[in-house]
Amino acid sequence: MSDATLDGPVLSADGKPLKQSLNLALRRQKIRALILIAPLLVFVLVTFVAPIGSMLMRSVQNTAGTDYIPDLMPNVVVAIEAWDPASGEAPPEDVYRAMAIDMATAFESKSHTQLGRRFNYEAPGISSLFRKSGRPASSWDIETDGPFKEKFLDIDSGWGNIEYWAAIKANSGYYTSSYFLAAFDAQRGVDGISMKEPDQRIYQKLMLRTLGLSLLITFCTLALGYPVAWLLADLPLRTSNLLLILVLLPFWTSLLVRTSAWKILLQEQGVINNFWIALGFTERLSLINNQLGVIIAMTHILLPFMILPLYSVMKTIPPSYLRAAKSLGASNWTAFWRVYFPQTTAGIGAGALLVFILAVGYFITPELVGGADGTFISNRIYFQFAVSGNWGLAAALGTLMLVVVLILYYVYDKLVGVDNVKLG
């Protein structure tokens, strides 16, 4: 009966190879498991993965409205190929002719203004040329009305601007790098890619500010949250449960309400300032609409995300470790620093990672209490997306943000080790 005496594969009781029977048995389980998670999987794919993927794609897609530039301007794209902006001369007649054909077609479908807006991101001022030229161009006869260069220049002398034509040439493909260049505060001129003037590098500044403030907020939540978590872990269960509810209380209130509450507390004529004046001071403090306001409000809002992982890790550390350290001769501080603290690093890691990543993407709070110098990159992304309608740039900034966070996560993994992170 022993399987070991048989040559070849081990058989199950009914004579099939054991591996096959095992796979069959497991396959049923796997299919059942898959069916159970299928609704969630579909939901996540449809509502999360697909929109984000398509959004990220927009950062490189060269479109005006919903159509790609080469589809809207098929003739110009081909004709402009031969022209070299570095020559210092405006494009030859055949490019203008191609523009006349494409402009007329675009005017038919009312997409010439979208084209104008698209190129305006690259070369400010160009959108009015498209707006003005659509109707005249639609009335020209391509065969007889040439040359078109003069006709375009008659409508607007801007059509002779080499920079405009360079922008069109640079963005004539299906895909473009110009959004990412803008996100990096770079520009493409007639003579290639260069950084913008230092005082115009707004995204770099915003990115650094976002990361810096997020880091500061993470430290603040750690400094405030660590003692609280320790207290919670140390107290008898009844008391600690009650206090834990107080920690979680903010979660039951809308983020908007909490942020507005901070506005009321911190504003110039607010509760804290009135109290400050009542104490006898004459200067009112500016606590809001600046970075300080963002730090105060976000530290408060993100505090539970630091306390909870810390608490769950501290809960697992038996009090006998500290006692053992003291019985071995360690003072209170040494016992804490050498024995207790190293065991909480997993919680610190989890809390810090959570708070930092949440802070980096925060939007509402900086928008409401941040003023001019307290806004985050997310506020700028929102502006590009909703106000100026430049989805490509918004997508590029979003992608950049995602990459930065992923890089930080990687560095963090190398330094701390994500395996060591405990969320509970």
Binding site: P318, Y321, R323, K326, S327, G329, A330, R338, V339
Partner: protein, 366 residues
């Protein structure tokens, strides 16, 4: 007892009381002295106050009233880390983020020993518990028994004069426990350390200690060497708690010096030694060890009282036979006999007569 006077006591509890809530006393008026080098075990059921006493000695709890002296000096106001007392915990409390060697080095580092001296002491301590090859391991890579050896080495590495052990073997299996019991006593005696050991396992207490303090209800019920404790329990709690024990209740009928006669509630009359009874008519609970019950009449003293008994169950346990009897209405009366060639094996249903030497049957408090 040598060294038990308060003058040369190394450890002394003087009228110590402890209350956690201000309403009930966990430790009630504790007086205890220990000479240097003694191995003393605090034995008792959970909630009897033994661990509280240990924690007060270690400095993790403060006495509500009374004085604790170490080497003649009161230590109530000395923080735990300045007491210089080694301690072994039930869950080992080895620091998980340090290696074994780092764990052992920790008490030496906080005492500012030099590096070479630390390494020397750590090496010696590891060899002492036969764990010399494990210095580089993490506690999680060791078995329970190995972890406890390391915990022991860590408590001894800075050469404290007093070591406290709080149920250190509680989490180990029986065989390992016995090995370590032997090892701990050997180490303690070889190094001449004064040891206070807390346990609820009476076998452990009996086999390891010089003296055992039996705790119940916040008081020491009896403080005596193991043999005295087992053979001459002072009250029925100690008799019940230490070893197996047959009890019967009755009234003292007659006291004659070292012996007395007790009339059991069922009317039977037996011989006993008065321990906690002083006058005729007092209610008493008599206690007799299963191995001291005799059913071979020739071994009893002439004139000794005997009791009728019916054999209910006979269990063969290898080295001994365990026989359950019905005696004076008590169906849990146990007799243990040695498995010797001439030993009688009783059969269920058999009617016998049992008796004992009067000094083996102790008339205690009811």
């Amino acid at each position: 007892m040598a060294g038990s006077s308060a003058n040369d006591a190394f450890v002394a509890f003087e009228r110590v009381q402890k209350s956690y809530d201000g309403e009930t006393l966990v430790v009630k008026d504790l007086n205890l002295t220990m000479p240097k080098g003694e191995f003393l075990t605090m034995l008792g059921p959970s909630g009897s106050g033994k661990t509280t006493c240990l924690m007060m000695l270690a400095g993790f709890e403060t006495a509500t009233h009374g004085e604790i002296l170490l080497d003649g000096k009161p230590i109530n106001n000395i923080p735990p880390h300045k007491r210089g007392i080694g301690m072994v915990f039930q869950n080992y409390a080895l620091f998980p983020h340090m290696t074994v060697a780092e764990n052992l080095s920790f008490p030496l580092e906080v005492r500012k020993f030099g590096k070479s001296e630390r390494e020397e002491k750590v090496k010696r301590a590891l060899e002492m518990v036969q764990m010399g090859a494990f210095g580089g391991r993490r506690p999680a890579q060791l078995s329970g028994g190995q972890q406890q050896r390391i915990a022991l080495a860590r408590a001894l590495v800075f050469e404290p004069e007093l070591v406290l052990m709080d149920e250190p073997l509680g989490a180990l299996d029986k065989q390992l426990r016995e090995t370590l019991q032997f090892e701990i006593t050997r180490l303690a005696h070889n190094l001449g350390i004064t040891t206070v050991y807390v346990t609820h396992d009476q076998t452990e207490a009996l086999t390891m200690s010089d003296r055992v303090a039996v705790f119940d209800d916040g008081r020491i019920q009896q403080l005596a060497p193991p043999d005295v404790l087992y053979e001459q329990p002072q009250n029925s709690f100690v008799a019940q708690f230490i070893g197996e024990n047959n009890t019967m209740e009755g009234v003292v009928q007659e006291i004659k010096g070292d012996t007395c006669i007790v009339r059991l509630d069922g009317g039977e009359v037996i011989d006993a030694k008065p321990v906690n009874v002083s006058k005729v008519g007092e209610r008493t609970r008599v206690s007799i060890r299963p191995e001291r019950v005799e059913f071979n009449k020739s071994r009893l003293q002439p004139g000794a009282h005997t009791l009728k008994a019916e054999v209910l169950e006979f269990i063969y346990m290898g080295d001994i036979f365990r026989t359950r009897l019905r005696v004076a209405g008590n169906e849990e009366f146990v007799v243990k006999t040695r498995n010797a060639p001439d030993q009688v094996r009783l059969k269920p249903g058999q009617q016998i007569e049992i008796g004992w030497l009067p000094e083996d049957c102790r008339a205690l408090d009811a």
